[in-house]
């Protein structure tokens, strides 16, 4: 598979990248890890005239402690996110979800920001980011703006980042001490999830004080299971509480139908996976 020919530029600062975007407009595409863009180019689903590589912009890579939150640079690779101590401590759900992405090869090239900007509803990172109330830092010709997850994800492959903008990083409020589990359901290991549920909880003395539940591939964007969260918060953690809460996971969702399962099946599946995700996040012995 040979892509159509394109010109290539590799800026070293965000400003240069934005200038290139401004110059080439809709004839340009930025490339981060290339794990989604390259298949698009090679299958000739798109043929941009310019490819702007973010790989040499050092300021976009890495994870910083910002006090109440951590900032994950847009071009930080999945493999780095999955093994980062700050992420493990303050955003365990992100670490767990990232570790399930594709296979080792893809994780060593694909990036956190690239995956979120790609906005595949089956992508594993959107739901955890949404559940953890992440903020998306977007740089454009007019400077920087920050949008919450609820505004960032706009539809299938659609985000708040417009053609002349870049996602530079994602700020995740610290969820220190929260336990987490990402329950991903696949047929073969290297697959995008048919459905996945991320659960992260703050439990104190057996009482669930905080709950954040994100759903992957249950609609055209990542979703947050607010009803489930409400049913958990303030409750003593028990099998019955979890089961009843999880049963609400499918409320109002409109999942896709495809080769791996139709919408009805996914609606059922999400309740089972939600129960399991919460149970495992609790470290409970019941199943």
């Amino acid at each position: 598979m040979i892509p159509a020919s394109f010109d290539y530029v590799a800026p070293t600062t965000v400003e240069e990248a934005l200038a290139a975007l401004a110059q080439y407009g809709d004839e340009a595409k930025v490339i981060a890890g290339g794990q989604s863009l390259l298949p698009v180019l090679r299958m000739r689903l798109n043929a941009p005239e310019w490819v702007i590589d973010l790989g040499r912009i050092d300021s976009l890579r890495g994870i910083r402690d910002e006090g109440d939150s951590i900032l994950v640079g847009a071009t930080t690779r999945h493999s780095d996110v999955a093994t980062d101590p700050l992420v493990a401590e303050h955003a365990a759900l992100v670490a767990r979800a990232t570790a399930t992405v594709a296979d080792a090869q893809v994780r060593h090239r694909g990036t956190f920001g690239g995956a979120l900007a790609h906005a595949d509803p089956a992508g594993d990172l959107g739901a955890p980011a949404l559940a953890l109330d992440a903020e998306f830092v977007i740089a454009g010709p007019g400077g920087e703006r920050v949008v919450p997850g609820s505004e960032f994800f706009q539809g299938l492959f659609e985000t708040a980042v417009s053609e002349d903008e870049l996602l530079t990083g994602v700020r995740i409020p610290k969820h220190t001490g929260w336990t987490a589990h990402y329950e991903k359901f696949v047929r073969v290991a290297h697959q995008w999830p048919i459905c996945a549920v991320g659960a992260t909880l703050k439990v104190s003395g057996g009482v669930i004080e905080g709950a954040a539940i994100g759903l992957t591939n249950m609609g055209s964007t990542p979703l947050r299971a607010a009803g489930v969260e409400q049913a958990l918060v303030g409750q003593q953690a028990s099998e019955e509480v979890v089961r009843n809460a999880a049963a609400l996971a499918a409320d109002g969702v409109e999942p896709p139908s495809d080769l791996n399962g139709d919408a009805d099946y996914r609606r059922h599946l999400v309740t089972v996976l939600t129960r399991r995700a919460i149970t495992k996040a609790l470290g409970a012995s019941w199943t």
Binding site: L259, N260, G261
Partner: protein, 825 residues
């Protein structure tokens, strides 16, 4: 298993688990695959393919493409004459078979999505690809027929000019053949006072998915036109090129260099090969075409795609009295080289290891607007094995006994070999009881049954099922006479040559054409033993019609059992030729010579000569007996008298998560009888790989078309191939009943694992769910299907024929996410 490289000098090569000598070059990429071949002045081709399954072509505008940079020619059907040749069907299964013409490039009408409508030649592959996108083809869409169920109705026709989609009806009836009784009588008796089991099973469509995509290079500049192709069948390709283009065979040389897998998928004479040949001749320059993976999935031949309607009759206590098979087989848009014959290869195997008194097989082959189907690992026998092994489980349930017990009641006993079956084949050897006993022990059968009972009693959300498959198959294709009697257009012998170089090295030439099997290693072991030379001194040459001039290539688990025997005979002829020369040089009489440990020795003396010393003496030819030619080289052609019948008992334990429908393999053991083993390491590789491929049919792989005939599972994102992460370690072992049809006593192992494993897995899943009223789950057993089976008591139904879009043209940008028109280049 560890590979032991050192050996005591007196040990034989046969039976050693030698590491494969070809692997260093294959694994490191040091070898040259077809796509690595670059010739001076070489041009590159790109194909323009139809996005529609069925359409009239009303116009082709090549002008933009022609003026694109680097383009040399853009041609469509009207630019070629009959010297382009045609794709042949070598096995018309009945005299009145309907066989649509199959030109390499579509003229007025396309019959499946992916069919070639124009070809671009350019100075680089990228330029060719760019120009291919500029060819404008006007299509007038026609109704397409995709599924077997629709096609047999003959309402929408895949080829309107044929007047029907039905290509051929092939029937075997044991009463007519005199090999058994009347199946209809058996069934009606059983309806009165016995058991009748009626089931319909679907063999989903599969894609061979070899690792190396197909690639062809043709150099027309020499006296002979040389074709390199990533093919399993260089000899057959050469024949087909000559037969259909009019170029004399002596002017064509075909080379299959190292080939990266085939699984039957490269047992084909392809449109792409014909076009490369024609373009090279026309342009007078070397030409190369390498397909993309998308093209490979869409337009290389597919496998399976059958619906089997089965009726089994038995006495109340489970003695089978008859089996009737009514099978529809989807040929796709054309009758491929052995397309119609694939289900016929299964016809003789539905009775499997059992003594059935009556049998009838009816096969209707059907044309549709889909990619053509042909051989895929097992070709006909996996389908047959699946059907009968699923039915035997159903019968066991009906009778209320263990599935192994029902098999034992019906199988051929060891003392009864050779045994002529109701399908008319004579099985030479086998021992089903011993293989089964061994497999049961390896598996811990009784213990797992106990665990199953416990989980059932506790209503465990994860249920356990145990699946059995006691398979046999016919392989070692094939006795030429039998092939002739089935109207197959070729023979089944194999050819070998053994050559000695002046320095005493051995060159072995085989007509088999390895594409990953390890022939170079196994054949070297055989010849090293036979001639008493070091393993390292044997070089195996193959896959080039100028070197290996005669051969029938590699498929149907034939290379060792047919080609290996030819090799043994050629080596023995070398020894026969050497003997009088050795006697002469040792000044002894022929009667006093014996050949041991690679040396001719004079009995009772310490005088001797090795085969190496003899070849040097023959090279010099200073002192040969009168009238003896200075040549030890020998050749042999072996035509087997019978097929070859490996068998084995496979046991599989599956855990089924009843809440999600997810299935997980817990344990898989098999005890196969493949006769004598030349190289246990290679055998283990074949068994493990074969098992995974069969398991993949049960659980993952499915080539899905939508109603319009677009291949939905058109990439590896949607056509699910397993990796090592999805499988477990298998426990494999063997019993040994040497085959009597070749002197090495070997049986084929290339397809055994694939043939056996599919029903073992599905039987296990169904076994887990029996208490929930489930008696079938359609393949592949996706979690969705399993869940539906549990909740609806059905076989799980169909799946949504839409793929999840992971790669979107507008990815990462705000705005519309609509995908452009299906572009299939």
């Amino acid at each position: 298993m560890t590979a032991v490289e050192a050996r005591p000098d007196n040990a034989t090569e046969i039976g050693r688990d030698r590491r494969r000598k070809e692997d260093a070059r294959l694994i490191t990429g040091r070898t040259r695959w077809t796509d690595n071949i670059n010739l001076p002045g070489m041009l590159h081709l790109a194909m323009v393919r139809s996005p529609f399954a069925h359409a009239n072509i009303t116009g082709i505008d090549t002008s933009a493409a022609e003026s694109s940079e680097g383009v040399v020619a853009v041609l469509s059907a009207k630019d070629f004459d009959e010297s382009l040749g045609a794709c042949i069907n070598a096995w018309p299964i009945t005299p009145d078979q309907k066989t649509p013409d199959h030109p390499p490039i579509a003229g007025d009408r396309v019959s499946f999505a992916g069919e070639i409508v124009a070809v671009v030649a350019a100075r680089s592959a990228a330029a060719a690809r760019d120009a291919a996108e500029m060819v404008e083809v006007d299509y007038e869409e026609l109704p397409a027929v995709v599924s077997l169920e629709e096609a047999v109705k003959d309402e929408v026709l895949a080829h309107p000019d044929l007047g029907t989609n039905k290509s051929a009806l092939w029937v075997f009836d044991s009463a007519q053949a005199g090999t058994g009784g009347s199946v209809d009588d058996a069934i009606s008796t059983a309806r009165q006072d016995g058991i009748v089991i009626e089931r319909t099973y679907r063999q989903q469509r599969l894609i061979p998915a070899f690792m190396e995509p197909r690639s062809v290079v043709c150099d027309p500049t020499g006296e002979q036109i040389t074709v390199w192709s990533a093919t399993q069948i260089p000899h057959i390709l050469r024949f087909a090129l000559a037969a259909t283009t009019g170029v004399p065979e002596s002017k064509i040389r075909v080379i299959a260099p190292d080939v990266g897998g085939g699984f039957g998928g490269k047992l084909q004479q392809t449109p792409e090969e014909m076009l490369v040949f024609a373009m090279a001749r026309r342009l007078g320059k070397p030409v190369k075409y390498t397909e993309t993976r998308s093209e490979s999935l869409m337009a290389a031949h597919h496998g399976r795609d059958q619906i089997q309607k089965l009726t089994l009759s038995a006495t109340k206590d489970g003695q089978v009295t008859g089996l009737k098979v009514e099978l529809d087989a989807n040929l796709g848009a054309y009758v491929a080289i052995v397309g119609g014959g694939v289900p016929v290869l299964g016809a003789f195997m539905f009775n499997a290891i059992y003594k059935f008194p009556a049998y009838q097989f009816n096969c209707q082959t059907v044309l549709t607007n889909t990619a053509w189907t042909d051989a895929y690992r097992g070709a006909g026998r996996p389908e047959a094995t699946y059907a009968i092994e699923r039915l035997m489980d159903e019968l066991a349930v009906e009778v209320g006994v263990d599935p192994l017990e029902i098999r034992e009641k019906n199988w051929i006993n060891h003392e009864e070999f050779p045994f002529t079956t109701v399908a008319g084949l004579t099985y030479d050897s086998g021992d089903y009881a011993t293989a089964t006993a061994k497999a049961k022990e390896m598996f811990g059968y009784d213990e797992l049954r106990r665990e199953q009972a416990e989980r059932r009693a506790n209503n465990d959300p994860v249920q356990l099922g145990i699946g059995v498959s006691t398979f046999t198959e016919m392989c070692g294709l094939a006795p030429s006479r039998v092939l002739g009697s089935l109207d197959y257009g070729a023979g089944g012998w194999e050819h070998a040559q053994v050559r000695l170089t002046p320095t005493g090295k051995v060159e072995v030439i085989t007509g088999a054409s390895a594409h990953g099997q390890g022939h170079e290693t196994a054949f070297s072991q055989i010849v090293a033993d036979r001639l008493g030379v070091p393993f390292e001194d044997v070089e195996v040459l193959h896959g080039d019609t100028q070197i290996a001039a005669k051969g029938y290539d590699t498929y149907g688990s034939r290379s060792l059992v047919v080609g290996g025997e030819a090799l043994v005979r050629a080596a023995d002829k070398v020894l026969e030729k050497a003997k009088p020369i050795a006697a002469h040089l040792l000044e002894a009489s022929v009667e006093d010579l014996e050949f041991t440990g690679g040396k001719w020795t004079v009995k009772g003396t310490d005088q001797g000569m090795s085969i190496g010393e003899l070849s040097t003496a023959v090279f010099a030819a200073h002192n040969l007996p009168d009238g003896v030619e200075a040549n030890l080289d020998s050749e042999a052609t072996f035509d087997p008298e019978n097929f070859n019948f490996p068998h084995g008992t496979h046991l599989c334990a599956m855990e089924v998560d009843t809440e999600t429908g997810q299935v997980k393999m817990r344990k898989y053991v098999c005890c196969d009888d493949i006769g004598n083993i030349i190289n246990p390491l290679i055998v283990a590789g074949q068994v493990h790989g074969g098992l995974v491929q069969g398991i993949a049919q049960a659980l993952w792989e499915d080539a899905v078309y939508d109603d319009a005939g677009t291949l939905v599972s058109g990439s590896f994102v949607d056509y699910l191939l397993p990796t090592a992460a999805d499988t477990i370690s298998f426990d494999i072992d063997h019993t040994t009943s040497p085959s009597t049809t070749n002197t090495l006593g070997t049986k084929g192992v290339g397809e055994a694992g694939t043939i056996a494993s599919t029903p073992a897995v599905v039987n296990a899943i169904v076994d887990a769910l029996r208490p929930m009223g489930v008696n079938d789950v359609a393949m592949p057993c996706t979690p969705e299907r399993v869940w539906r089976a549990i909740n609806e008591g059905s076989a799980g139904g169909g799946t949504t024929d839409a793929a999840a879009p992971h790669f979107d043209p507008s990815t990462g940008m705000s705005g519309t996410a609509d995908r452009p028109e299906g572009d299939v280049q």
